[in-house]
């Protein structure tokens, strides 16, 4: 039967367009369906800033080397072994050519951004950020004659025993139908679907802020799972960080971050501390605080610092709440005043003098508290006091579909001969089962995007 296209891609983020471009370069005719309007295209990729390529020698803009063994150890450490080792090895090996592939497709790189020097060896930063990457890839798609359909609503994929048959969708109130020999699903996770998240998190999920696109609702993922695709990960796993509580509900991106957590104390809405703020550096700290805040009443917390911390952390997008006394601060934040004053007084009493160094695990700590602060503990007594409201900001989800080394989606019934391939966040859980490693998401998207595109095109001929 004559198909409308050789390859159909659902999702026009970095992984989807990489797959589309690779398929088109292999000679396939390609159509991409994207649910978002054109002016907000690019999925979560437009909010990204780097990827993490393996490299044995210095490779501009990456310094020194970041070899397979070290990279693999890092991945095992952050995932606590929750990774498919075969696919993880494949990802790391193939990541070595990711940067060159992007450069060949019009993407420029630059040394680490201000405030991220510690990533200079491992992470290659996109010049202009993720939207610059996406613009370059959209330009390539156009040159290759790839058809991109925006605002494709209510996409329904018709799958019979693990084989893709056709897709229907609605565009401008018209129902459309397309057939293709292969399907690449690159439709992201479901972090923007608070109803789905609340199945795992309960009502708390409604207080989550979504750092990325509102279009990652997991509709395609749901359909795949309903058609007996093999599931990987569970709905409770998500990457959530503590961000500014005043950030937009969606698409707040990078600038909603709050970096001052280790410099002061963090209290919940009863003005009580609940975790060791000085436990560790970014990114470990970064990865746990979203969950910590999510576990507090009303999913809210307050990071409190005093004037000693001025200039020691990345500037924030919203100004802090500022007060000349703790009394006033509590009033402005709506916290129980006595509790806050007591919490700070206890904290200040327990601070043991040490040598402060916010760039190392220093010797400033507390002694005698129920919840100690193990580093960077300095008394909060130099007004003005400043506070940032924190909320859990969800970045991505881990639940996805299982794939093989050809990016082919596994179905309970199939024998590995299906025509459905997956790339990006929808399958990232195969490699990153839990935890977080800066730049790994884009790396997985780059590697599996290229594999999925190549294999989808091969399958179509």
């Amino acid at each position: 039967m004559k198909q409308d296209f050789d390859v159909l891609v659902i999702g026009a983020g970095h992984a989807g367009l990489t797959a589309a471009i690779c398929a088109a370069e292999s000679g396939a005719s390609v159509c991409v369906l994207e649910v978002s309007p054109k002016n907000v295209r690019g999925g979560n990729s437009k909010h990204t800033r780097n990827l993490r390529p393996m490299h044995e020698t210095a490779l501009y803009p990456l310094e020194d080397s970041y070899g397979f063994d070290e990279y693999f150890d890092d991945l095992l450490r952050v995932t606590d072994g929750e990774t498919n080792r075969e696919l993880a090895s494949l990802t790391l090996q193939e990541s070595a050519s990711s940067m060159q592939w992007l450069k060949d497709h019009g993407v420029a790189f630059q040394p680490p951004l201000g405030g991220t020097l510690h990533l200079g060896r491992t992470n290659a930063f996109f010049l202009g950020g993720g939207k610059a990457v996406m613009n370059a890839l959209f330009q390539c798609s156009e040159k290759l004659g790839i058809r991109v359909v925006y605002e494709a609503q209510e996409i329904q994929i018709d799958i019979e025993s693990g084989v893709f048959r056709r897709v229907t969708y609605i565009q401008e109130d018209q129902s459309e139908e397309l057939t293709a020999a292969s399907l690449v699903v690159a439709a992201g996770g479901f972090e923007a679907n608070l109803e789905w998240l609340s199945e795992a998190w309960g009502h708390a999920a409604h207080n989550f802020l979504v750092r990325g696109t509102p279009y990652n609702r997991g509709d395609i993922l749901r359909q795949l799972l309903a058609a007996d695709a093999v599931q990987i990960g569970d709905a409770r796993q998500c990457h959530a960080v503590a961000i500014d509580g005043r950030a937009p509900k969606f698409d707040g991106g990078i600038c909603s971050r709050i970096d001052c957590v280790p410099l002061g104390i963090v209290v919940n809405n009863q003005a009580a501390r609940f975790y060791d703020e000085g436990e560790d550096f970014w990114p470990k700290r970064y990865a746990i605080w979203g969950r910590l805040v999510a576990a507090q009443p009303d999913q809210v917390a307050y990071s409190i610092i005093d004037s000693r911390s001025t200039g020691l952390f990345m500037p924030t997008v919203f100004p802090p709440v500022e007060a000349s006394s703790l009394h006033e601060l509590a009033e402005k934040l709506g916290l129980p005043q006595e509790n806050l004053i007591k919490t700070v007084a206890e904290f200040n009493r327990s601070v043991v003098d040490g040598e402060f160094n916010h760039q190392a695990l220093d010797t400033c700590h507390t002694d005698g508290l129920m919840i100690e602060k193990t580093h960077w503990a300095r008394k909060l007594d130099k007004p003005p006091f400043r506070a940032y409201m924190l909320r859990p900001g969800i970045t991505f989800t881990y639940l996805g579909v299982e794939v093989d080394a050809n990016a082919r989606v596994k179905f309970a019934a199939s024998k590995g001969t299906g025509n459905i391939f997956a790339a990006g966040e929808i399958m990232a859980g195969n490699v990153l089962g839990q935890g977080y490693l800066a730049g790994i998401g884009m790396t997985i998207g780059s590697v599996f995007g290229r594999i999925a595109g190549r294999e989808a095109a091969k399958n179509a001929t």
Binding site: Q110, G114, G128, G129, P248, G253, P315
Partner: protein
């Protein structure tokens, strides 16, 4: 004060400018938390050295901005995002206002705020006066050769000498005013290496290369070198014309060899190539300006177009003169040419021409800040 969108009220003289500076501070605060664009140009590294953005800082950053549009095309927070970040647009507005703010004397700020009218009227008036002058004095026996039969050399020297000296005076005060608001020390307190680096940025228009060398984005998502090329043609065309005039002056006074000159003489060679560069360059810049994306276009009261127009017509009428030598219209053409040139002189002092000086100072300040911060890091 940490990360506070600074109250800019106190130091903004004209109260209707407060919203513009508050909007600039709001956007810079967002950019400073994001920093994705720091590789595109000098604006963002300069921004990263700061936590607050007062009026002077914003004037400095806005004059550092070359309006390449890269940061807008690549902005995850641009419209329709609720943050509605648009650096090139707001900085274009600030730049335009800053030309008025730093104008000397202050009373001349109206010339900037009504740039289009100012240019049209001064050109017409100068041409008319010249024409009247030449017509009324036509009976007097003219000395000299070529154009000097229409307007004597002495009259030209008196006119343009005055205009030139006036321009120099205005430059001194305007430049000083802007310089003092930046982080720059006195002229001799700046290392030669800083001057050198700033000069390279100025002469190569480094900040129009997008940071990756592919050019700028004022027309859309695809990088283009067109604006940089046309600006080079304009700037170097202008410099060639200036060299031609300087050599002519040396010939006249030093070598006692007054104009007119042969086609193969140095003044003519520089003048004609410069004039052609100006002609093509300014026409190209006009075309670039027309194709600039609406979203980053600012209302500059015709300031940009009047400067481009003056450059274009200066070169057009200048190049036409030798061709009209035998014609009856020569006197009229000469008056028109000199009228346009006089209006251009006024633009040097109170027009878009000043962008070159303020931007050069801003580039110098950004190189100086880089120098200071690396110096501090290596010694401290």
């Amino acid at each position: 004060m940490q990360h506070e969108i600074v109250q800019v009220k106190e130091n903004v003289a004209a109260s209707n400018l407060i919203p513009l500076y508050e909007e600039s501070a709001r956007i810079m605060t967002i950019c400073n938390a994001c920093r994705f664009c720091e590789g595109h140009c000098a604006v963002f590294p300069a921004m990263e050295q700061r936590l607050t953005f007062d009026k002077e800082t914003i004037d400095y950053l806005a004059n550092l901005c070359h309006q390449c549009g890269a940061c807008y095309q690549h902005c995850q927070y641009a419209d329709p995002h609720e943050f509605n970040v648009n650096v090139p647009r707001v900085f274009a507005d600030v730049r335009h206002q800053s030309y008025a703010t730093y104008a000397w004397p202050r009373q001349m700020d109206w010339a900037i705020r009504n740039a289009g009218w100012f240019t049209v009227l001064t050109t017409m008036l100068a041409t008319l006066l010249l024409f009247l002058g030449t017509t009324l004095s036509a009976n007097e026996s003219s000395e000299g050769a070529g154009f000097y039969t229409i307007i004597s050399h002495d009259a030209m020297v008196a006119m343009f000498g005055t205009a030139g000296l006036l321009t120099l005076l205005v430059w001194c005060f305007s430049v000083r005013g802007f310089w003092l608001t930046t982080s720059l020390p006195a002229v001799f307190g700046i290392p030669v290496s800083v001057y050198r680096r700033a000069l390279v940025s100025i002469l190569t228009l480094k900040n129009l290369d997008g940071g990756h060398g592919k050019g700028c984005y004022e027309t859309g998502e695809v990088a283009s070198q067109m604006r940089r090329i046309f600006h080079h043609l304009t700037m170097y065309g202008f410099l060639f014309c200036f060299i031609a005039t300087s050599i002519g002056t040396i010939y006249h006074y030093g070598l006692s060899a007054p104009a007119p000159y042969d086609w193969l003489s140095a003044p003519k060679l520089f003048g004609v190539t410069g004039g052609l560069g100006l002609l093509v360059g300014s026409a190209g810049l006009w075309w670039c300006k027309q194709s600039t994306e609406q979203a980053i276009t600012s209302d500059d009261s015709g300031s940009g177009n009047s400067f481009i127009g003056l450059l274009f017509f200066t070169s057009l009428t200048g190049l036409a003169l030798p061709l009209l030598k035998a014609s009856d219209y020569l006197a009229m053409a000469l008056c028109l040419h000199l009228g346009v040139v006089l209006a251009l002189f006024l633009n040097f002092a109170w027009g878009k021409f000043m962008h070159g000086l303020y931007r050069s100072i801003a580039l110098l300040a950004s190189e100086y800040e880089k120098y200071v911060s690396t110096h501090k890091n290596t010694t401290g």
